[in-house]
């Protein structure tokens, strides 16, 4: 029997739960970290402080151009040597968060740079306070450009959470692999994983495309 419905029904709830409770939770936490860290990095780059800003740019580029699995192993095996003990899930959130912060920083920068210079000049002409300039003029316009790209990055991050099985985080694909190893039935677990991912990421990316169109015309 190639496809065992009974078996598929048995493991579906396990995998779905793993997706919701582990994969998605990690995605959300790493997104929050990336959003905050990315903003800090973008501000540091933008402020053009000598030494600090170029170093940050270099660091971000290095992070962007190197693979997540190597970064995972680096943090996972090096931190304990330095006396910092963190568990696999925290390591995963940290590495994904920092990796995507390097993308987010770029998105923020692009968003802010896309605001026409005239907007800044108008703010100066009206001598608006800095706070109002950001809150009422720059950010409301920048967010329109930023939001869809950030959303797409979050979707691709969710699909990269299985990288964490390198350091044995029990997310969905790792559990599917365990189930397969124990029963020697691989077709059902991995097919179900794929379908769960599809059921999550397809509607999400359609939503992002709609959001993009909506924000553009507004």
């Amino acid at each position: 029997m190639i496809w065992d419905w009974q078996f598929a029904r048995e493991i579906f709830p396990i995998l779905l739960l793993a997706f919701l409770e582990v994969s998605l939770v990690i995605t959300v936490l790493a997104t929050l970290l990336a959003a905050a860290l990315g903003l800090i990095m973008a501000v540091i780059r933008y402020s053009k402080v000598p030494v600090v800003s170029p170093t940050t740019s270099g660091f971000l580029q290095f992070i962007r151009a190197t693979p997540i699995p190597v970064q995972l192993f680096f943090v996972f095996y090096v931190l304990p040597d330095m006396g910092v003990l963190i568990n696999a899930v925290t390591t995963g959130v940290l590495v994904l968060g920092i990796h995507y912060a390097s993308y987010f920083a770029e998105v923020y920068r692009g968003g802010i740079e896309s605001i026409p210079k005239g907007q800044w000049e108008a703010c100066t002409a009206l001598s608006l306070p800095m706070r109002t300039i950001w809150q009422r003029v720059i950010l409301p316009q920048a967010v329109r450009k930023i939001l869809p790209s950030l959303g797409n990055y979050v979707i691709s991050m969710a699909k990269e959470v299985p990288f964490l099985l390198f350091i044995s985080v029990p997310e969905m694909v790792a559990q599917a692999k365990d189930i397969g190893g124990a029963t020697y039935r691989y077709v059902e677990p991995f097919t179900i994983c794929g379908l769960i991912y599809l059921a999550f990421s397809y509607p999400a990316s359609v939503l992002m495309r709609k959001l993009e169109i909506r924000l553009e015309t507004a």
């Binding site: 740019s57 190597v70 994983c193 991912y197 599809l198």
Partner: protein, 240 residues
């Protein structure tokens, strides 16, 4: 860090690097073929090929690369009764996944060629093949190259997945050295990171050369060569 000796590992490192490099090259080659096939099909007038291409693209974009790799390595042999070499399996997974992303790049770039260009082709009575080869594609190419370069960087960054299916790629060799030299974990991984960084930068450089070549053919101004522009990733749904 003391007592670290790279000597005995050198041969293995080179072998691992070679696996990573050729998996990247063949994966990219397959991805380009898949991208053009699906990208062009999704621009067809007829609804059947278009729908088929869209479904395949969304399928390979939507299901995670790791799931696809595991499916090909673990599940497919149970269905087919034939086991592929793991490197080949990885190349297929990389090619299909990035090919699906690439299809969007191809589609977007060809759609971005202004409509009058096509109308002019009709007016001149060029054949479909001729107008595609000499008019549409040369103009679409410079638009395709930067996002394609980003995808290729992503592809390189995905090759360590081969570790999970027991292929001795560069990352796996790095891990072996870590086990063999317990005192120098940080150094080993930093070295691995730097090599991957250099590989990515090589791709970025080649991408910019290609972009300049494609632009020069059209009489457009070349972009300035710099590595500072690497974006690393085209986010999932973004491309054009």
């Amino acid at each position: 860090m003391k007592g670290f000796d790279l000597g005995p590992w050198l041969e293995l490192l080179v072998a691992g690097l070679w696996v990573t490099v050729y998996a990247t090259i063949l994966g990219t080659f397959l991805a380009v073929v898949v991208a053009f096939t699906l990208g062009l099909l999704s621009l067809e007038h007829h609804v059947v090929p278009r729908t088929i291409a869209r479904v395949i693209v969304e399928f390979f974009r939507g299901t995670s690369l790791i799931v696809q790799l595991f499916w090909i390595v673990y599940a497919a042999p149970l269905l087919l009764g034939y086991k592929l070499n793991n490197v080949v399996a990885a190349i297929i997974a990389l090619g299909l996944n990035f090919g699906a992303y690439g299809a969007e790049v191809v589609r977007g770039a060809i759609k971005a060629v202004p409509k009058p260009q096509r109308e002019a082709c009709t007016a001149l009575n060029l054949t479909a093949l001729h107008s595609f080869r000499r008019v549409i594609l040369p103009q679409a190419l410079p638009l395709m190259i930067p996002p394609a370069g980003n995808l290729m960087v992503q592809l390189i960054k995905s090759t360590p997945l081969m570790f999970l299916v027991g292929t001795v790629d560069f990352f796996t060799v790095g891990d072996m050295i870590r086990r063999g030299q317990p005192g120098s974990v940080g150094l080993v991984y930093l070295g691995v990171l730097v090599v991957f960084f250099l590989l990515s930068m090589i791709v970025v450089g080649i991408t910019q050369l290609l972009e300049n070549w494609a632009k020069r053919r059209l009489g457009q101004k070349p972009v300035r060569i710099s590595t500072a522009t690497v974006a690393g990733a085209a986010p999932a749904g973004e491309v054009v």
